[in-house]
Structure formats: C-alpha cells, structure tokens
C-alpha cells in the first residue's frame, strides 16, 4: 500500500501531460477565426489537433455559417431538386432550383441558401450538417426539417406572409409524388426589371443638390453588373407583399457615396453634384472618339476591368493591331482603297492624319487636291492632269 502515492503521482503526471498534449497549439489564424473560436470548438471544423494554414485538416462538412461560399451561374445548378428525405405528412417538395437560383442573383447569389461551402469542394448537402432528427445534445444546430423550412419560409413569409404548407408540398392523400418532376417550367425567370433611363437623386449638397444618374447607360454602355450596386437585396426590399413598390428598395438604407465611389473615386464632387441632366459621358472627351469600328466593340475589348473599374488602355494602334492593317484580320480593300505597292508602305497616320478612322487625306502626298470618299472613290476637286 505504501506504493499507492507513487502510483497516484505517476497517473496524475500522465493525465496532466496528456491533457497538455491535447491542448491545441493556437498559432496564427485566418482573420475570421478570432470571432469564430469564441463560438465553436476547433474540433468542430478541424480533424487534427494542430491545424496550420498550410494544412488546415478541415473536416469535409463543418458548418460555421457563411464561412466559405462561392457563387456560380444559375444554370450550372440543377433545374429541379426533389426534397424527399423527410417525407411524412406531405408529398416530397419539387423545388424549382433554377428559378430560385436566378432570383438570388440580385441578392447574395448561391450563398443565400448554400451558406457553407468548403474551399475547393462542392457545397455539402443540407443533411450533412443538419441532422434528420434534432439532437438533444446539440441544440445549437437546427435539424434538417428546421433548416429546410427556415430557408424557404425566411423569404416566403417576407414575400407575402403566406405560410400555408401547400405552397410547397401537397398534403398526402394517396401518397406518392404527383406528376412528373420535370414538368416544372425551369425557364421561369424574374420578369425583366424595368430599368430607369435617368434617376435624379436629390441631395442636400449646397453647390448642386441634384445628381443625375443615367441608369441605363451605366448598365448598357458601361457594362455595370446589377450586383455592383444592388447588393444584398432580397425580394422584400423591392416588393411589399408581392406587389412592386420601390424598385430600388429604400435608398435611405444605401450609402450612395460608397456605391458610386467604387468607380468614381477619383472624381470630385462637382463631377456628379449639379451636373447637367443631359451631360452624358462622351468618349470623344477622352481624346479618342468612338467612330466606325471602335464604336461597335465592347468596352473590355480595349479596357481591362479591374474589379469594377476600367483600366486606361494604351492608345497605340499596334497594341490591338500588332499585324497592322495589311494582315489577315483586316482587308483594307473593304474601304475601297487597295493598299497597293505605292500605298502599302505608307504609315496609317500618313493618310489618316485626323486619327484612327478619320477620313484619309490625300494631299499629304498628292498636291492636286484629290480627296477620297468611300462611296465614290477618288474624286478630283480641281484640275487633274
């Protein structure tokens, strides 16, 4: 019996050592973690005791909300999803995934519903985080039924206060799923949103209280995506009980400066405030009038889009036309002028003195006042010997 204290000491030592070894070594953590570790155990997400930035040893499915998310195009997902895992009193839900995916484009995209997608993995199925039956041991995680219903009803209640079960699934009478799962009209899209041509925003800025915003031009001409400005807008921010109300939602809740600064951060106040309503941006003001062919190419043919801004492109012709105009891509003969032996060696600017696309000037070489007109060809204006 006198060995007992020694045994106890050894056991105690081992226990302490074991506990210390299990204590995860908290090294540098990604930014989100500071908040997250207050709420969840490390083991909630990580398989190993010592996750590192290089090897986070993430479990495939662990679910801190909105931790990771990715957005895809709506048509990359399935058209219809049959939700039949909890079939009981009601027939399975035929969920029109395509239509709903399209609706989320004005909101947060896929993460509106798929709020957890581990990096480089397809998003997990709902049931992989939300258990079929609620676990009494873990009351923090909604069960699968709660997760489904909250996800749907979160919007549907806002939409029209309709909470009848039959909106999504018919009550079982005979039993099985009625009709074919593919009879859905998967082409249901949001009706085209009426886009305002010009919105005049009233401000309290002294030196110009009106800010004209040419909405259509921003979309059609400058190629702004809806989500550039319309972020986190759900159905109810535009619709009150399924009726169209303010198409933009409540502007008072949007910081318009932050929105405009995304592109106009180098412009001064007067660029927007007090600007004449018809003072539209003219590409010619930049010294590069968009004429003939250049008017028909998209902005990003010349500009690269960096986040929401357009880069300043080089004005060198050869940057876009490395082969010049004699190459295969452009046949100068379509203009009526064959770049023959005499003209082929001339530089573009020898004739097009006014810039690219400008009318060619012959008098630089020919002193007989000849001009070239595209439709009629060469025409002498004076005496032509």
């Amino acid at each position: 019996m006198r060995f007992l204290p020694y045994h106890l000491a050894v056991v105690l030592f081992l226990l302490v050592g074991f506990a210390a070894a299990k204590d995860p070594d908290v090294g540098p953590m990604p930014p989100l973690h500071e908040e997250m570790v207050k709420e969840v155990e490390c083991q909630h997400c990580h398989q190993c005791d010592h996750p590192t930035l290089d090897d986070p040893c993430l479990k495939s499915f662990s679910c801190p909300r909105n931790m990771f998310s990715a957005t895809l195009a709506p048509d990359l997902g399935p058209d219809v999803v049959i939700l039949d895992q909890l079939e009981d009193l009601y027939v399975p839900v035929r969920f029109n995934h395509r239509a709903h995916a399209t609706m989320t484009e004005m909101n947060a995209g896929c993460p509106t519903c798929h709020h957890y997608t581990p990096p480089d993995l397809p998003h997990p199925e709902c049931r992989e985080c939300h258990p079929r039956s609620v676990l009494l041991e873990d009351i923090t995680q909604p069960g699968l039924r709660g997760a489904y219903h909250r996800q749907c009803l979160g919007c549907h209640v806002e939409w029209d206060n309709a909470t009848e079960c039959e909106i999504c699934h018919a009550k079982k009478a005979g039993g099985a799923l009625q009709g074919s799962a593919t009879t859905f009209n998967t082409e249901i899209h949001h009706a085209p949103i009426e886009m305002a041509e010009l919105i005049i925003v009233q401000t309290d800025y002294d030196d110009g209280d009106e800010v004209p915003f040419h909405h259509r031009a921003h979309v059609d001409v400058y190629g702004a995506e809806c989500s550039l400005c319309h972020q986190q807008q759900n159905c109810a921010s535009c619709h009150v009980h399924a009726e169209a109300s303010h198409p933009m939602g409540d502007l008072a809740e949007v910081d318009l400066h932050d929105t405009c600064y995304k592109c106009h951060d180098e412009d001064n106040c007067e660029y927007c405030h007090g600007r004449a309503h018809d003072d539209m941006f003219d590409h010619a003001d930049t010294g590069w009038p968009l004429k003939s062919y250049h008017a028909s190419v998209g902005c990003t043919t010349c500009h690269t889009r960096q986040e929401s801004r357009l880069s300043k492109p080089t004005t060198s012709c050869s940057a876009c036309h490395p082969d010049g105009w004699a190459g295969k891509k452009f046949d100068h003969r379509v203009t009526g002028v064959t770049l023959d032996e005499e003209h082929g060696d001339a530089d573009c600017s020898d004739c097009h003195t006014g810039g690219v696309g400008s009318r060619s000037v012959c008098t630089e070489c020919h002193d007989d006042d000849r001009v070239y007109q595209r439709r009629t060809g060469f025409r002498p204006t004076g005496s032509f010997d």
Binding site: I139, G146, E164
Partner: protein, 311 residues
C-alpha cells in the same frame, strides 16, 4: 367582469395587502433548486401552422383529432386560451401590422403557484423541471386555477363525475421514452427547441447577441415569476403578444410569505387567541360581578325579612 378580470382584481388586491418586504427579491425559501428541462420558443420563426396543437391533441388523446381542423386560420381571429380539450393554442398578434404567432401552454414555472396553492399536493414540480398533475390526489378545489399567473389550468366542467384539472403535461410519457414533447417534434420550422433550461437560456442570449435587430434583449421566462421552463424569444415585448407582465418574484413568494407570517412559530395565532381571550375574560368578569352583587343584596333583604341578623 369575465374570469380574467376577476382574477386580475384578485391578484391586485392580494398584492396591495402584501407588505413591501414580501416583494423583495430574496430567494423564496421554498423555491426548488431545479433547472431541469425546458423549451425555447422563438416566436420570430413561428409560422402559425398550428401543427403543435394537432400533435398535442394526438399525444394526449384530446378529442379534436383530424389534422384538417387545425388548418383553419380563422382560429386566429380571436385570442384563444388553453382549455380542458386543448393544452396548447397558437395565437396571432399584429403589434406592428405584421403577424407574430406565439404558442401558449403551461409554462412549467420553476416555483409553481399551482403547486403552492394545491392543498392536497396534486401538483408537483419534479426534479426534471416538469410541473406534473396527479388526478388521483385532486379534490377539485381549483385553487390552482385561481393561483396561476398565466391562467393556464382548465377544469372539466362538463364532466359531472370525474372532473380533472387539465394542462400541458410536457408529454411525460414521451420524455420517459427519450423523445421530445410532441409539439417540439412536429414543429416544421423548429421554432421550439427542447433541451436543458440553462443551455436554452445560453442559446437564447447567443441568438440575441448574433441578431440584435431580430430580437428584443429579453428572454421571457428567464426571470418572470422566478423563472419558467418554457422560454420565449421575440421581436417585440411578449406583453404585446398578450402574455402577462410579471415581476421576478415567484407567486408563492408572496402567498407563502403571508401564510407563513401569520403562522410563524404559532405566535400570531396564540397572540390573537390571547387577545380575544382577554377581551372575553374582561367582559365576562363585569357581568359576573354585577350578578354576584345583585344576589348578595337579595340575600340580605331575605334575612332582614325573617327578623334575623346577618353575620
């Protein structure tokens, strides 16, 4: 005056009679130190489908059974109370125009007034937190009905022979099988969360901290009448959803303080009896004296009449 107003009046009268000390927040000496199980109701999630009412009736063999009769939304036109045939009801309120639904049932108080009021201990706050009713002990006095701050217990007035008090049983049989109460199990949006009360309170406060715009910063039932096993989260004060506004002191803290003060060490009753006895004794002495004086005079006269002398 309907029953509610009457009981309100009773309560108000009772409170007016209570000395200030009784309302102090001293832990009630008889408060049971149980934290047991509970249910957290998130009224911001409830969609008013009334499936909990249906499941409750099924589980407790209550008369109204078909699911279709619970799909009738016209039930929301009036504010309903649980009764002998419905242990739980869902009511709709529109404090700000938008509907908010809230389930009403026995709150399973931490320090239940019904158990305190019951003179035959038919109500019992079990260690697991359930306020259970034992019909075999009940004698039908219905003090429990008067005492309940939430006005929950109902009586089978139409049962002439074996009437019982009826209220939410917390689905004791299901709990014994390790299952959640029927209403919790059926709820499609899981706005009912069944678990340990302390964990539910922690969960409720986490939810409030995460969504400060969604909830008011108050968990109804955490402190009301000393705490209840059923807890409510809401976007507006629960009083706007027709729940009573209650203090933190348990109801028995008031009633039992009165009772126990009156009978403390049996001194007040003894003092009262002593006081009354003294009055009786004093009154009785005067009458006897008068009587005695009167009889002496008569005796003296008689002796004189006989020509004798007195001693």
């Amino acid at each position: 005056m309907d029953r509610r107003e009457f009981t309100k009046l009773l309560g108000a009268t009772g409170l007016a009679l209570v000395p200030g000390k009784a309302a102090a927040s001293d832990p009630h000496p008889h408060a049971r130190k149980v934290d047991g199980i509970g249910v957290l109701v998130d009224t911001t999630l409830c969609i008013g489908c009334r499936k909990c009412e249906w499941a409750c009736n099924q589980s407790n063999n209550l008369p109204e059974q078909p699911l279709s009769s619970f799909e009738n939304k016209s039930a929301f036109t009036s504010n309903r109370r649980p009764d002998a045939a419905h242990y739980t009801v869902v009511n709709e309120s529109r404090p700000d125009g938008e509907p908010i639904w809230a389930k009403v049932q026995c709150m399973h108080c931490q320090d239940p007034a019904c158990a305190s009021a019951c003179i035959v201990t038919a109500f019992d706050k079990r260690d697991d937190g359930v306020v259970a009713y034992d019909a075999s002990r009940c004698m039908g006095c219905r003090y429990c009905i008067v005492s309940c701050p939430f006005q929950i217990p109902a009586y089978e007035y139409d049962n002439a022979l074996t009437p019982q008090v009826r209220k939410c049983t917390f689905c004791l049989e299901r709990l014994d099988e390790g299952r959640a109460p029927a209403c919790v199990s059926i709820c499609p949006v899981e706005c009912l969360t069944y678990g340990r009360r302390d964990e539910l309170i922690a969960l409720a406060h986490r939810k409030i901290a995460r969504n400060p715009d969604r909830y008011i910063d108050h968990v109804y039932g955490e402190h009301e009448v000393g705490g209840t096993s059923w807890l409510y989260l809401s976007s507006v004060p629960m009083t706007e959803l027709d729940f009573p506004e209650l203090g933190d002191a348990p109801v028995p803290c008031v009633t039992e303080t009165i009772q126990h003060s009156i009978f403390k060490n049996f001194v007040p009753p003894l003092a009262l009896y002593a006081f009354l006895g003294q009055i009786m004794w004093l009154t009785r002495d005067r009458e006897q004296d008068a009587e005695a004086e009167g009889s002496d005079a008569v005796a003296t006269q008689a002796v004189r009449d006989q020509g004798g002398t007195t001693l």
